[in-house]
Every structure is written in structure tokens, then in C-alpha cells.
Symmetry: C2
Subunit: 245 residues, 2 copies
């Protein structure tokens, strides 16, 4: 994983397809990831057709990667297959509840990240679409996901056609705590965030949006309270609809 | 990541410590993982002291790895640092809701899995403790986690003192779907699960527990409806307590 320190999200891809043999090897190898009770509580929907991508695109706010990438992967928390197994084996499955969703979502996200690490090592470029959690109902509909299956991650995957600059990261002391959680003081916050705030691209971002601080870009534009509260309700509705709440 | 196909969870460790320099490099490199809006919505609590491990052990049903590993890592979904930043910068943060928990939990789990892949590549052995989601309140208390911080993963880490056999995995066709979700038929279930059910260790497991099928081991003993429903309620209570619901 020598690539880890030079990895970046890739949003533009060449016309080259991903050979099914390569994709399948990566999807299979990623399944070596640890999983709860060795139950593998996830599924992956592979979208390669133009129609399939077009159906998913609105759920991801029509970000162009969805229709332009050769492959879109939707990774789902899945207790349905395990439940079907139990039903076929004189066992009484009790996985239609919130804890089971969290267990399956955990399995699915760990699997997803090993896939990302493997795919990037193989030279592929990826973009992780956080929008999956914003409009799960639209994805459930597009992919015809039945009860006890819930989308938690989407990746657009292809051969890179760009090499964007590396993004910054917070200093390690801001997110690693020894023995117990140490609440950051305003002085700590200055030390952690000043380098990010001083980046020319972030200063420009604040200026063109007529904001006073970079934090306001996040709270007022990108991830607002209003949107978060609205999407929290629709996420919980989707959990109910899929039988997890 | 040539190690991926020979990786196994490691529950016994040698007496050798993990050098802080190595651990810090892994914790830092893992932060190259993609993260929502580059906000890094996670924290890691590093437990090295005997007292700290003893305080965490009951939350993990006193599994011996917790007190025997040189290092225990608790990875948390964290919107507190970002909220503190906004509060220091004339911004109005709206991250005390369920969607924000899911966003931060996602960030934390992706970070966790890159850490796992890096640590295993460096020769370390890991055990991922799913119990983190079973008794979050006990962990919150042991680590003094404030509001908007929620534990989602625990790793015990050390130098391997065992080489357990590789565990089985389901065939890829059971979890990879082309274009839309294909519900498994009873015939599919037989094909997917028969190899697992035929393993001598699983047959022995069924026999000594006086069960008829392997699936019953999961539904009646390991992950029962009663426990799942109880823990679902206490998980939601913990989300409320930490300000995410």
C-alpha cells in the first residue's frame, strides 16, 4: 500500500473499460475483510449499463462521474441473504431491527474500504459518493432493493484521466487521543484548523461565496442544519421501509 | 496488499510492544482515506495502560484480547471537533442529528479499515471487536466520550502469537449482483451455504450445541432476536445521550 500517501479521489476516467476478470478479482479479494460471525452482511450491485447509470444519477444529484465511469458499485448492508438462509434451515431469524442494520452497515463499509485500497493499488481511480446516505430511497428504487437490503456506499470506478492535487489533512494530534477523549480548546482549534484555513483555494472559496469564515461554507452551504434534519427524517423512513426499524 | 488473501483475525499477541513511531505512522497514513468534505469525522482513542484496558474489558464481554493486546484502539464517529471549530468561527453547526451520525460513522469505519490493511501489511495482528456496537454506553463511560462522539469500532492490536486457519467465505455470486438485486431462491441458498455447512468444524459446532442446523447456531445462540431487539433500544438510547437523535 505504498500508494496510500499519494492517493486522491478520481472523478474523470479514460474510455477504457474495467475488465470483468480484474473487477471480479478485486470484489472477491475484498471479501477477506473481517466480517461479523463470518456472515458477510453485504451485497454489491454492479452497474455497467448506460440505462442503469442514468437511473442512479439523480439519486447522486447528477454528479457526472455516475454516468461517465465505466463501473458504478453500490454497496449495501444486507441481512436478507442471511435471513433467507435461516428461513431455509428451520431457524428463526431476528434481524429486522436497528442493531442488525448497524452490524450489516459496518460489514458493508469495511468491505468497501478494502475494495478501495485494493482497487487503488491496482491503478484504478475511485470516487466515493457520500450522497448514498442522502437519498437512499431513490437508490432503493433504482436498484429494486428488497427489504433488509440498504445502500450505504457508492463508488464510481475507472482508469484515471486526471491527477488532482493531494488534499490537506488535519494534524494527527487533532484526532488521536491517549487513554481518554480530550476536548479541544479554542487554542487547539486554531492550531488544528489554521493551516487548512490559510490554503489559497480555501480563502478563494470563502471570498467567492461571500462568507466570513471557511467553517461557514460547511454550515451555511455544504452541510446545513436544515438539510441534515430533513435527510435524517427521510433516512429513518427508509430504514423503516426496508424493515430495519 | 499481497497479504490480503492470507489475512486472519489475530487474538493472541507476543509480549512485544508496538513502537509509538510505528503506530503513529499507521494512524497518520490511514487518514489519507477519503472523508466527507475533508472534515475527518472521526477520533481514535489509544489505550495502552493496564487500567485503561481493564476499564474497557467489561464492555467487550471480557474477551481476553482486550487486556492482553499491547494496544487497544477505539475509533469513534466524531462531529464534536468540527462543531467546536464552527463555534469558534461564527458559524452555526447543525450536526446533532441522525444523518450526521451516519456520516461520521461512515468516515470512522472507512478510516478503521484502511488502518487495518496498513497494520496487517506491516505484520501486525488485529482483532476487530463487533461488541463495540453492543454496549456503546459502557465504552462512552470508560473513555469519557462527550456529546457528538460515539464509538463505532474497536481493534486489539499486537504482534501475532498464533496463526489460525483461514476462515471460509461465501462464493462471490452470493454477494455480487449485476444491475439489480436478485433475490436468492432456496436452490441458490443451498449452493451458497452448503460448503460452509459441510465444514467439519461447523458440523461439530452444531453437534455440541444440540442444534439441527448451522443457521440455528446464529439465530438461537450467537445473534438472537431478543438480544438484537434489546441492544437496538440501548443503541438508540446511546445515540440520544450523545446528542445524535
Amino acid at each position: 500500500m505504498r500508494h496510500i500517501n499519494t492517493r486522491r479521489s478520481i472523478r474523470r476516467y479514460t474510455a477504457r473499460d474495467i475488465e470483468p476478470k480484474l473487477l471480479n478479482r478485486l470484489l472477491k479479494d475484498a471479501a477477506r475483510t473481517q466480517t461479523m460471525g463470518n456472515l458477510q452482511l453485504y451485497s454489491v450491485i454492479v452497474t455497467r449499463t448506460a440505462e442503469g447509470k442514468a437511473a442512479l444519477a439523480p439519486a447522486h444529484f447528477n454528479q457526472p462521474m455516475v454516468t461517465q465511469a465505466p463501473v458504478v458499485l453500490t454497496i449495501c448492508a444486507d441481512f436478507r441473504r442471511t435471513t433467507a438462509w435461516a428461513n431455509c434451515r428451520e431457524a428463526d431469524p431476528g434481524y429486522d431491527n436497528f442493531l442488525s442494520f448497524m452490524n450489516a452497515a459496518t460489514d458493508a463499509l469495511l468491505y468497501t474500504q478494502t475494495f478501495c485500497n485494493l482497487a487503488e493499488e491496482a491503478g484504478l481511480g475511485l470516487c466515493y459518493l457520500g450522497t448514498t446516505l442522502y437519498q437512499p430511497q431513490a437508490i432503493i428504487k433504482a436498484l429494486q432493493l428488497p427489504k433488509l437490503v440498504f445502500p450505504v456506499a457508492t463508488l464510481t470506478v475507472g482508469w484515471p484521466a486526471e491527477e488532482p492535487p493531494l488534499t490537506d489533512r488535519l494534524p494527527m494530534e487533532s484526532f488521536v487521543h491517549a487513554e481518554s477523549y480530550l476536548d479541544p480548546t479554542p487554542k487547539d482549534i486554531d492550531r488544528y484548523y489554521s493551516p487548512k484555513e490559510a490554503l489559497p483555494e480555501n480563502q478563494e472559496f470563502v471570498r467567492i461565496n461571500h462568507k466570513k469564515t471557511l467553517a461557514q461554507i460547511f454550515t451555511d452551504i455544504r452541510y446545513t442544519r436544515k438539510d441534515n434534519e430533513l435527510m435524517s427524517r427521510s433516512f429513518l423512513d427508509a430504514l423503516r421501509q426496508q424493515g430495519f426499524l
